[in-house]
């Protein structure tokens, strides 16, 4: 009796899966390939995990690159570092540069860690103020005061003095910040901590900080949504997001004194003149170039120097695929970045990244080419 019913249900499920299998085997390209190289035209599979900020770029690069399947999970920079350290993926991706503790945990796999800067992105100060569609100028001090809760209305003296030509309403300022741990927060607070001593001591910098005021929203989408729903709101939103959704954002004063809008060029300019340490762990903090947009963030791909020796799950085949992926990303991949509103590395850093990528090995042989 029941056996019949259960059998019927199981049969239905099996039928559905069977149909799907038949349907897919004709239309999908490569199915269950594990990292083994097939016959000619070998397609290797590389796995990566980490930064959510970098995810759209790596997905796109993977999609544009023939012959390599890249499975990338946007689980966050911290989880990405854990993943590469525990060898659950072939490469990790992180926005902040590696801390000494991270370097040590990755080095435990038997090969020193290598972090390669891949591209840059700006963090915009987006706001919702009908009547002020453009032209808002803010400097580090005012921004810090706003996010500390000291400046409460849009027509406050501080903002007025920077924007004499704008008519500013008396609307209350609603601060919106990220409620989840994020590299975007780290980049934004990193800038504020550099230019605003009180912000540095009261709030500090990092992926999660104790915001003294404002609403928390989850993800760029959450912050964007919150800004759009509240008149008078101001928050920090990733550049790609702000540009693609046509947000209103302010120009920010950089170290040289110029008020700069977050464009792709000003973001790349932010990378110029940055001191590049030996391990390539750059951190863009209030850059000095006159054309630079000051709130800019970098992102890295993190691997062991000798990936096969370290024991990546994908093995040799993944190492080859990784080589192709890095070469593409630092080559042609840079030129398509602008299509999705991400910024290229400036030439100086790009050269160093390429050199580092060329140095990645698999059991002694370079993985490139």
């Amino acid at each position: 009796m029941i056996k019949n019913r259960i059998g019927a249900l199981a049969g239905c499920v099996a039928l559905v899966i069977g149909l799907a299998a038949c349907g897919s085997s004709s239309s999908s390209s490569s199915s269950s390939s594990s990292g083994t190289t097939a016959s000619s035209g070998s397609s290797s599979t590389v796995s990566g995990a980490g930064s959510t900020f970098a995810a759209p770029v790596y997905q796109q690069w993977a999609s544009s690159l023939q012959g390599v399947t890249v499975n990338y999970q946007a689980v966050g920079s911290g989880a990405g570092i854990t993943a590469i350290a525990s060898k659950t993926v072939d490469f990790g991706a992180s926005d902040p540069p590696l801390k000494p503790a991270d370097e040590a945990s990755i080095a435990k796999n038997g090969s020193p860690p290598v972090q390669i800067p891949m591209f840059l992105g700006a963090i915009t100060v987006s706001y919702n103020l009908p009547g002020v569609p453009s032209g808002m100028k803010l400097d580090g001090k005012t921004l810090g005061d706003i996010f500390l809760g000291k400046v409460k209305t849009w027509n406050a003296a501080e903002i007025k003095s920077l924007n004499p030509s704008l008519t500013l309403p008396s609307t209350a300022i609603t601060v919106v910040h990220r409620s989840d741990s994020s590299g975007t927060t780290a980049g934004f607070t990193g800038f504020l901590a550099t230019v605003h001593p009180e912000f540095k001591s009261k709030v500090g910098e990092g992926k999660t900080v104790p915001w003294p005021t404002g609403t928390g929203a989850k993800g760029n989408a959450g912050v964007a949504g919150a800004i759009q729903q509240t008149v008078g709101a101001v928050g920090y939103v990733e550049q790609a997001y702000a540009l693609q959704h046509h947000f209103t954002y302010a120009s920010v004063q950089n170290k040289a004194g110029n008020f700069v809008l977050p464009t792709l060029e000003s973001t790349t300019a932010a990378g110029e003149g940055v001191t590049v340490p030996a391990n390539l762990g750059i951190k863009i903090k209030n850059p000095s170039s006159p054309k630079a947009y000051p709130i800019t963030s970098q992102t890295f791909i993190v691997v062991n120097k000798d990936v096969c020796k370290a024991g990546v799950p994908g093995g040799e085949s993944a190492a080859k695929g990784l080589g192709k992926f890095l070469a593409y990303g630092l080559g042609e991949g840079q030129s398509i970045l602008s299509q999705a509103d991400y910024s290229q590395l400036p030439a100086t850093i790009l050269e160093k990244s390429k050199a580092a990528a060329a140095g990645i090995q698999c059991n002694g042989t370079p993985i490139g080419g």
Binding site: V209, T215, A217
Partner: protein, 338 residues
């Protein structure tokens, strides 16, 4: 009796050979072993997680962690009180709003609803269970929260003399909207189990009440509900478990402010949400602290479940002592007292 065979060809238990008893014993031992294995798995689960959480407890002390009032990641100072309070507030809200509505829907579906509509109604309520938690969070924050904000502001303003409910600043993500969406999320499970339980009340008990002249509602109140109480509580406990442990939806709706807010319409944080939010970026002690938060949640679930069980046991034994005669006596009182 010896030698007698029963109708249908079965032999009496006394006559059954040891071989024939084998399937029974195999079943008994097999199932017992399985239950033991599951218990072992649960213990292992607990032990592993305690292991991951230990460094945080070492640093902050068990009480220091659980009741510490500041959750500061950068300073590596982890106190879970705001998280604990947030979890309690939102889960309590979820139960307060969700359980009565769910039980009412269950009663309606089984007792009052026209038979033709019964299947459709059941399906509709269970459809709520089909919605993924991330969709609940997004729908809540992008659709529901902005719509309710004016009403929330009005309540906070007009009722500001009532502590906790009134006063404070009204933010879009807040305790209330989280509790409300959680209530919606637990509706299907509480309702479905209550419905199953209510449907099993013996018809003769219900008909007896009606025959004695009870109105529909009185019949439900005296014949159906007391009988179903334990099962309904079981369903509510499952709903509570869901509410306590819900991660993604809460993290979108509660605002994730590691503060102990004193107002219903302000942001807060919860134990489950902090894990979802921060795990992706956490390393070292921070990660241990997140596991420790998970452990605090287990203990909380344990305590709440324990209390619920004790309440149900007491109610059940009370009813047993008085016997089913008590229900009848109460009913007769009602009818006569009219």
């Amino acid at each position: 009796m010896e030698g007698a065979s029963l109708r249908g060809g079965g032999r009496s238990v006394l006559e059954r050979s040891p071989l024939a008893r084998l399937p029974d014993r195999a079943l008994r031992y097999g199932l017992t072993a399985l239950a033991a294995a599951i218990l072992a798995l649960i213990v292992y689960f607990f032990v592993r997680l305690v292991g991951e959480a230990a460094p945080a407890f070492e640093r902050m002390g068990v009480f220091g962690f659980t009741f510490g009032s500041e959750w500061n990641v950068n300073a590596e100072h982890f106190g879970a009180l705001p998280l604990l309070v947030g979890t309690l507030i939102t889960s309590a809200l979820a139960l307060l709003i969700g359980v009565p509505v769910a039980v009412a829907a269950a009663i309606y579906a089984t007792e009052l609803c026209p038979v033709r509509l019964r299947g459709a109604l059941t399906l509709l309520v269970e459809l709520l269970a089909a919605v993924p938690s991330v969709v609940y969070g997004l729908w809540g924050i992008f659709f529901l929260a902005p719509k309710l904000q004016p009403a929330e502001q009005w309540i906070a303003g007009k009722l500001s003399f009532i502590p906790f409910i009134g006063g404070g600043t009204v933010t879009i993500p807040n305790y209330f909207i989280t509790g409300l969406v959680l209530a919606i999320m637990i509706l299907p499970i509480v309702s479905a189990i209550s419905r199953e339980v209510i449907a099993t009340v013996p018809t003769d008990q219900k008909e007896a009440a009606l025959a004695l002249g009870a109105t529909r509602w009185e019949m439900i109140r005296t014949a159906v509900l007391p009988f179903s109480r334990a099962g309904i509580v079981g369903g509510a406990m499952l709903g509570l478990g869901r509410a306590l442990g819900e991660t993604i939806a809460v993290t979108i709706l509660i605002g994730n402010a590691p503060r102990l807010s004193h107002h219903l319409f302000e942001q807060g944080y919860s134990l489950a949400a902090v894990i979802a939010n921060e795990f992706g970026e956490a390393t070292g002690l921070h990660r241990n602290a997140l596991f420790a938060a998970g452990l605090v949640l287990f203990v909380l679930t344990l305590l709440v479940n324990g209390v619920a069980r004790a309440l149900v046991l007491r109610a059940a034994s009370g009813r047993n002592r008085a016997g089913s005669g008590e229900a009848g006596a109460r009913l007769a009182e009602t009818v006569a007292g009219a």
